[in-house]
Symmetry: C2
Subunit: 274 residues, 2 copies
Amino acid sequence: MTFASKLATAQQTNNSWLCVGLDPVMERLPKAVLASDNPLLTFGRAIVEATIDLVSIYKPNLGFWLAEGPTGLRALQTLITEIPDHLPVILDAKFNDIGNTAAAYARAAFETLGVDAVTANPYLGVDALRPFLAEESHGVFLLARTSNPSAPNLQDKSVDGYPLYETVARLATQWNAENPGDCGLVVGATYPEELERLREIAPDLPFLIPGIGAQGGNLEAAVIHGPAANGLGPVINSSRGIIFASQGPDFADAARTAALTLRDRINQFRETAK
Amino acid sequence: MTFASKLATAQQTNNSWLCVGLDPVMERLPKAVLASDNPLLTFGRAIVEATIDLVSIYKPNLGFWLAEGPTGLRALQTLITEIPDHLPVILDAKFNDIGNTAAAYARAAFETLGVDAVTANPYLGVDALRPFLAEESHGVFLLARTSNPSAPNLQDKSVDGYPLYETVARLATQWNAENPGDCGLVVGATYPEELERLREIAPDLPFLIPGIGAQGGNLEAAVIHGPAANGLGPVINSSRGIIFASQGPDFADAARTAALTLRDRINQFRETAK
């Protein structure tokens, strides 16, 4: 099965375009969780359990797990094995390295951690992406326009009259055609006009849209411009707005409520957009 | 002590601009090493022991350790604690993430793993770099021109009449001035003209120069254009050419011989360039 078809099936099963970002920060974990033997795993399990029928995909960001060293990485590895097979997992690690190093990262992601897709940074060009694009069961989402304030430093520089991130989108459509993979784009919801423009340039590519929630992104634009031409819905990610909806003992219930609310808001925009 | 001054002292102590890349690949480890309890750690220890008086810095690439999961990360963490304090360590992880995620990666590198410097990708702009630039005891080497065949896909795109990697170098000099950090550039030795040009644009920044050895980079160009205006020598990295000089039981001796040969070749070019 291709990554895109696995994602499409999960979107239909749970009637959801929602992705929950599994981004634990030790200082923000509820007290009861911190008292457990393995706080990161305890927290991750509780969030997954509370949201499992509301999402189409999960997205752990490697940084938060790596910050806790080997213990954190082990917790992530265990958590990923516990996520049901019908729900894909994207490892958000923004990989960017060359040759045999890229191959080592691909092994880390797809074999050692066992995820379905990764994020990657396009700055090194296509050979840095080939190990991730090599199998169609794996997806790669390339950074195009990120959601942070200093994204314009490089991404908006004019190349042949167009911003650099549009060049990335054009290259991504070529690289996707060249490789039998599922190449998508990361497009921050904080820049709705760029989202619309990128959808025009790359009608067929799956979109991963972060920046919803804590970062204040435009959800309606994400719903309108997010779907690919073949109907595959976008991966609309919220992390802190869901996982830290409460830091009290009710954190899992609060996460469920926040996820439900966001999924339903997305679905309302989908209805309106029909 | 700043990162740059620590590096300068190590360069003087060992009369060396050599960096050995600690990039183990399980399939390529000698049989005797594979038979040990912890092959990655055994191998890393043997390479460090064999080269410790010949280098000014070590550069483990995170990918190779991450490929072996929590065990690999633990081995890297242990190995770093065993490298003597007077020799700096760069974690080659090409970090690129935003806000609190960048802060988590900085914690992973500087606290959890305890390295002195990291590599980072400039595509997300300066806010993604601030957690790495925040303390002058830590260095950050930004990818400018990488050493792989598809580097031109984006890095050579023309921005205001100059290739994109020159824009990165100009931004890096601004970002270095803005932050009390030690911001350097990664410039592949496989492109000697670009190396010369980048040194003109960024005379004050430390250079990390990969691509020597297996990748066939131009060592003379690295020596001539590598030093910063203040005399700080470049970090000239070789990985496979040293650590896999032999895959037999003599691998450590062979690594020492390869490191000694490369250090001396660098020093001969330094003499000639005087």
